[in-house]
């Protein structure tokens, strides 16, 4: 608990009254509001953005910048490019806060999908390849929504679950998933890269995704049963 929050608690205990009106001086009031933002859910932060509260961007950035930046860096391999993608992704969220439908999925999923699209777009521009990801996906990157199960899991635990889930996927299937996800390759491009028939690649993609689904379901279920 921060000093401001502790002080607020003490005052509340002494006066029994609401905090509003007691902390009316600029900086202290601001600290309280910031604390309030820190305890807000992602969707509440997006709602704050909609009403023009730019501090919500800062809070959301603190929460998810690592994931966004790390993914962009994994895809692009150049830190300055990854920095730009990270900044652009959060700025896009600020600009499009009004369009994000809270009934359709998590904020993290939105950020990841936008960051990946932007990073792969850059990657393909570098390679002068045609961008496979359609404009529709970029404009509306989360058309079906994503359950917030990932956000319920504490980040340290989450990393462990993901690592184990991926480890359970056979190497040749995992390789195909990684080439598609991190390098934005089409199945034909992957077939050329790994020198396998395209039919084999399609099978590996299907089986790899199925295995990922099974492993995650089992691991998340196991985590939830322990909670």
């Amino acid at each position: 608990m921060s000093i401001t929050a502790l002080y607020a608690t003490l005052l509340t205990a002494k006066t029994g009254g609401p905090l509003v009106g007691i902390f009316h001086l600029g900086s202290t009031r601001m600290d309280l509001q910031t604390d309030k933002l820190s305890s807000s859910t992602d969707m509440e932060l997006v709602a704050s953005m909609k009403s023009g509260d730019s501090r919500a961007v800062s809070t959301l950035y603190e929460r998810h910048a690592r994931v966004v930046y790390s993914l962009a860096l994994r895809i692009l391999q150049i830190s300055t490019d990854a920095e730009e993608v990270t900044q652009d992704t959060f700025f896009q969220m600020w600009q499009q806060a009004g369009r994000i439908d809270q009934n359709r999925g998590s904020v993290l999923a939105w950020l990841v999908m936008v960051a990946r699209s932007r990073a792969i777009d850059r990657l393909r521009s570098r390679r002068k390849f045609r961008v496979e990801i359609s404009d529709e996906r970029l404009d509306n990157p989360n058309p079906f929504g994503i359950p917030s199960a990932w956000e319920e899991i504490e980040s340290g635990e989450r990393a462990g679950i993901v690592e184990r889930a991926l480890r359970e996927i056979p190497a040749e299937q995992r390789e195909v998933l990684e080439l598609a996800y991190y390098e934005g390759m089409s199945q034909a491009e992957i077939a050329e890269r790994v020198k396998q028939p395209i039919g084999t690649i399609k099978t590996r993609v299907r089986l790899g995704m199925k295995k990922l689904r099974q492993s995650l379901a089992a691991l998340v279920g196991d985590y939830e049963s322990r909670m």
Binding site: A65, Q95, L212, R213
Partner: protein
């Protein structure tokens, strides 16, 4: 789950991974558009699974300047609220922009059309002028041919009296009269005119009429009230005040050699 859903189930993963293309992708997207209760959750779950790949990456903290620059951009943009804060405002702005765009486009179009009409009119006028010139030229040629067809015709050249000047004329003198064809003679100054003289053998100038040249320095003039050709020594042109004079007031600017007897 119907048969099509069973078939499409295999495509959830590739679609979520972004590797599905061509007819298969089209088929799945068309199917999802009809709000299939079986396939939508399946695709949603597959997209959720791909999030694992993002989270599997070794986590690194971005440099502090990324956040600083981001917040600076947000602050700059904050002078206008995020787009959803007041959708009507943005709708109004969008409508105004659209209106301005339409008006600008319309004005541009009208201006463009006006310019086209103006250019077309100029082209038509130019074409008309060329036609007029050609018609005038043809009429002159026909008139000259008519003069030349006659028997007993003399062709009389007139040359500038000053050697360094290039203008000149030709006269066709037959039974029906005299036709003077002038070349390269500048238009006369204001309130002035050219006057043709027939100088008789006793050196008396007889006015054969006045004429002016066109902008090209040309003129075709049919002289009137001439003395008999046999009585005429030569032809001359002078610059005179408007309306001409009974006698020349200035030296001739061009003159013919002595006209030989027929």
């Amino acid at each position: 789950m119907n048969h099509e859903c069973e078939e499409l189930k295999e495509l959830y993963g590739p679609y979520a991974l972004g590797v599905l293309s061509g007819p298969e992708r089209e088929q799945l997207e068309n199917h999802l558009r009809v709000d299939c209760l079986n396939c939508r959750p399946g695709v949603r779950t597959a997209i959720n699974d791909t999030l694992a790949l993002a989270l599997a990456v070794p986590q690194q903290e971005p440099p502090a300047r990324v956040k600083e620059e981001l917040l600076q951009r947000v602050r700059l943009a904050s002078s206008t609220a995020p787009e959803a804060a007041n959708p009507w405002k943005w709708l109004a702005i969008a409508a105004m922009i659209a209106l301005v765009a339409v008006m600008t486009g319309g004005i541009r179009r009208i201006s463009h059309l006006r310019e086209e009409v103006y250019n077309q009119r100029r082209a038509n006028a130019e074409l008309q002028r060329m036609v007029d010139t050609q018609q005038q030229s043809m009429a002159q040629q026909q008139k000259a041919i008519a003069y030349l067809r006659e028997s007993d015709v003399v062709l009389i050249p007139l040359k500038a009296t000053s050697r360094d000047l290039r203008y000149g004329a030709s006269a066709i003198w037959g039974k029906q009269g005299l036709l003077l064809m002038v070349k390269n003679l500048p238009a006369p100054p204001q309130n002035k005119t050219y006057q043709l003289w027939a100088i008789t053998k006793d050196n008396k100038p007889i006015s054969a009429g006045i004429f002016k040249t066109d902008p090209n320095g040309e003129a075709m003039y049919e002289a009137s009230s001439l003395p008999a050709r046999s009585e005429t020594k030569l032809l001359a042109v002078t610059l005179e005040p408007d309306g001409g004079r009974p006698e020349p007031t200035l030296p001739p600017i061009m003159a013919s050699p002595p006209i030989s007897a027929p």
